[in-house]
Amino acid sequence: MIDDDVLTPERVSDPYSYFRHLQREAPVYWNQKYRAWFVTRFDDVNQAFRDPRYSANRIAAFAANNPDSDHAFDQVLHVLSNWLVFKDPPDHTRLRRLLQSSFTMKEIESWRPRIEVIVNELIDDIEQNDTIDLVRDVAYPLPAIVIAEMLGVPSEDRDLFKKWSDQITALVFGALDQPDRREQAIVGIGELTEYLSKLIRSHRNSGGDDLMASLINARDEGDTLSDDEVLSTCVLLLFGGHETTTSLIGSGMLALLDHPGELKRLASTPDLIGAATEELLRYDGPAKVSVRIAAEDLEIQGHQIKAGARVFLVPCAANRDPERFVDPDRLILDREDGGHVGFGGGIHYCLGAPLARVEGGLAISSILRRIKDIEILDRDALEWHPTLLSRGLRQLPVSAGAIEGAT
């Protein structure tokens, strides 16, 4: 018997045992509670990500399920409908081309020194605190500060940005513990769009060389982004780059603390950080479930999937598939059978992947370099966000020996 509740307290804290069971017993499983097919094997998930017959447009279905929509909620849907994560070709192709040119690995690499400074400032600030919470002190503030800075948001407005990001995240990631999430998201998106509209207007007038300017100036054979699209994209970047990167850093540090041998190895071999970041994404990355809609009748592993059906691809299960990885539940930083679907794949492959890699790598290596003898305060008391699509720690309280200077 398979139980359909994916978000029991045990499964929120450990989704892997549940999905392992599913993978073995029913790798393509119709979950009546979610009214969706759960696909859990690596090869199936990986193939489906690259298969155009799986649509990413779940906004249309979402709107249809919320017929009592009011003006404010329509505004939210309007912003979301411009997000390329919810688009199919040819609309997706055009937007992705324009955004990709602002988000190349080279462009992101040029931010590395600045991101390192921000990480170090966050660690400097820890010294004044009594307790250390690696999520609250580093993992949570870092991505919001970085994306705000990349977009040209003045530093005094950073806290506003973080607040809006939280409100929108709750809606998109389906936080069950926040029954007012719809209202929160409406307020958040309303305030954020108003703020961003002003920021875009001032950029149009004054220029600049930040990411916002790059989006405004993005050209593809004479095509450009409209103000509406720039705005929606900024919201997407803020939201998409925040909680996920926070989770990568938080879960990544936890995984290392749970594997002291690997932590020690990374601390003494800083060059391992690139491979380590990939392994941490595989081992316990932020992407739990990715939603797709069957664009036509499909068959996976002998199961007939009707056009319009919801298909939940489960990267966190795929990344622990014993058919794909030797000893999948072990953290091996320089794993020979590396690779993962933590960033998805195909045309929707995470646009922010290069940024997540830089931020995650810098945060983790700086924490290990500067904060000595880290120990988790209470391993059993750690709590995870009770969300279906993503996975992340609420907090990671630790004790530490010395905190060393940045240089």
């Binding site: 298969d51 190349t104 195909g346 492959y349 992947a353």
Partner: protein
């Protein structure tokens, strides 16, 4: 007029995630197989803006181009 330099194209299928930005930028050099993963159609070509764009736009770092004579990395 100087001859455009010859470049050798390398694509790592293990790293490729099938995003297919390269196919859009330079469909003469890059295609994809039946798994939607990158396939180099022309392993040695003249340098061109389309090729440079294709390699720069790859979000996974699966692509590179070297000078065919010196072996020096030209892109990314």
């Amino acid at each position: 007029m100087t001859e455009p330099r010859r470049l050798r194209i390398h694509a790592s299928v293990d790293v490729c995630a099938g995003v297919r930005q390269c196919v859009l930028s330079d469909p003469i050099v890059f295609g994809h197989d039946d798994r939607n993963l990158v396939k180099v159609l022309q392993p040695e070509v003249n340098d061109s803006p389309a090729l440079a764009e294709a390699i720069t736009m790859c979000p996974t770092g699966a692509l590179s181009a070297r000078d065919a004579e010196t072996g020096e990395i030209v892109y990314p």
